[in-house]
């Protein structure tokens, strides 16, 4: 009985992490399709991310309720919930960025498109490594560090790419200042996904020390 409950909770946690990972992939493809003017595909990815975000949210609430009502993992449940909530913020940010792209439809000149695609790839890699670190935290805490350092690596890489992109945008002589500011706004948004992944990684670093017996 007790193991049945535990197994179902384990599956739910795995499903939650799967949703975050999938959302990262959909987000990266969404940005790529937007930059390549495949607007139909872009909208499909946006819908997918919205759906995944909603499902992850439901799973999080369900796990949260069960952890507290059944007094499970009393030592670490606060940490687990904090990790789930901050992970939820990451895909929330991914969805918001795609929604804003869909609403505002920024005009991205051809010379900046590869920069945005590259930035989205780097930030989604940070998110993927964050998910791997979370999976390790659940089953194999001594390996968490192996993933954390990759999260930090891709976050730095994303910062570098974002700065490069912003510099080239503002160096452009053809664009209006308002246009430049609009593009900078989206650069910040795409980059923020890596920053939020880093926040989760920071928490994980501490919680992993706490988890060791």
């Amino acid at each position: 009985m007790i193991f049945k409950k535990t197994k179902s909770l384990e599956s739910k946690m795995d499903a939650f992490l799967d949703k975050i990972s999938e959302a990262g992939i959909e987000y990266r493809r969404g940005i790529k399709n937007y930059m390549k003017n495949n607007h139909e595909d872009f909208e499909r990815h946006l819908q997918q991310v919205t759906k995944l975000e909603h499902e992850a949210d439901e799973l999080r609430k369900n796990i949260e309720t069960r952890l507290y009502t059944q007094t499970l993992v009393p030592e670490s449940r606060g940490d687990i919930l904090a990790l789930m909530e901050t992970s939820d913020d990451v895909i929330g940010r991914a969805k918001d960025t795609l929604v804003e792209l869909s609403i505002e439809k920024p005009d991205v000149p051809a010379e900046f498109k590869s920069g945005f695609i590259e930035l989205a790839r780097s930030t989604s890699r940070a998110l993927e490594e964050m998910v791997l670190a979370l999976r390790a935290f659940m089953r194999d805490p001594i390996n968490v560090r192996n993933y954390l350092h990759k999260v930090y690596h891709y976050e730095k890489e994303s910062d570098r790419l974002a700065e490069e992109l912003k510099r080239s945008i503002f160096a452009s002589e053809e664009l209006q200042l308002s246009h430049k500011i609009h593009l900078r706004y989206f650069t910040l948004h795409v980059d923020m996904l890596a920053d939020l992944s880093e926040d989760v990684a920071d928490r994980l670093a501490i919680y992993t020390i706490k988890r060791s017996i």
């Binding site: 384990e10 670490s76 659940m138 089953r139 017996i213």
Partner: protein
Amino acid sequence: MLILLFLSSGLFLGWSLGANDASNIFGTAVGTRMVKFSTAAVVASIFVVLGAVISGAGTTHTLGKLGAVNMIAGAFMVALAAAVTVLWMTRLSLPVSTSQAIVGAIVGWNIFAGKATDMGALTKIASTWVLSPILAAAFSFIFFLLFKKLLDFWKIHIFRLDAYTRIGLIVVGAFGAYSLGANNIGNVMGVFVSVAPFEDLSILGFSMNGVQQLFLLGGLAIAVGIFTYSKRVMLTVGTGVVKLTPQSALVVVLSQSIVLFLFASKGLEGWLLAHNLPTIPLVPVSSSQVVIGSVLGIGLANGGRGIQFKVLGRIASGWVTTPIIAAVLSFISLFFLQNVFDQQVVKPMDHTVNHQTTIIENVPHG
């Protein structure tokens, strides 16, 4: 009714043991909410009584060798002196153990009665006070490293590990409670063994001798202590003094239970004897000091960080001060009971000294 009045000091010792020492077994489990207090109290009570009735004779025999209190009024006062020592030293926040108090109180009775104390038995008992925390530290050091290796190897999901740990804490806790009952019932009821007037009893095919009935009463007193007062102590232990993860707590309880069992098991003693191996003396030891030894073992396995050597010094000082205080108190109170309340606390006896074995035996008159 009079017998219950005389037993009351022992029952009070039992209550105090249940109130304080059950927390050494289930404290962290309850304090960290891994196990509900009601579950812990029921499991601890059942197994403490079983341990006392089934395996309590070994340590009691050793205490009997130290000094066989031969009048029930004397036994009452010896147990009361030990209880008051424990209560008084606890209120002064001094490290104290029932095992050490009862030994001091028995020696106090020996001095009052003019009987020689068996130095061999006393040395054996005192050496286990030092040995038991060291042994517990060694066990927990090994178990901790073993658990760590196994957990790294098995990669158990955090939720499943939680479930396993809960079950482990209850199962090992039950073993711990059994061992506590077996090891410490001698402290509670040992002095009454030779004077309690219980007849052998047979109900529904189960038979109990007088000593087992005495231990059942003592075990029930411990259970009452667990139910009425141990919750607060458990919550303090679990959340206050030492912060342990549930897995470390499991290691601590396992090490403690094994040590208490080793010093109480007649079966193990028989097995060791049968295989020509050195035996472990059956002596009541302090579960609190054994727990501190276990926690120390984990501290050492973690590289020795955060170990407070001052605490160890305080424990060592308790090995000397507790028995001395209890002996003095026992002596004075026996004097008062005999001379002010006109109760016979000592039955006169002859001494027979066997020079070949240097064991002193007390032979009652008639």
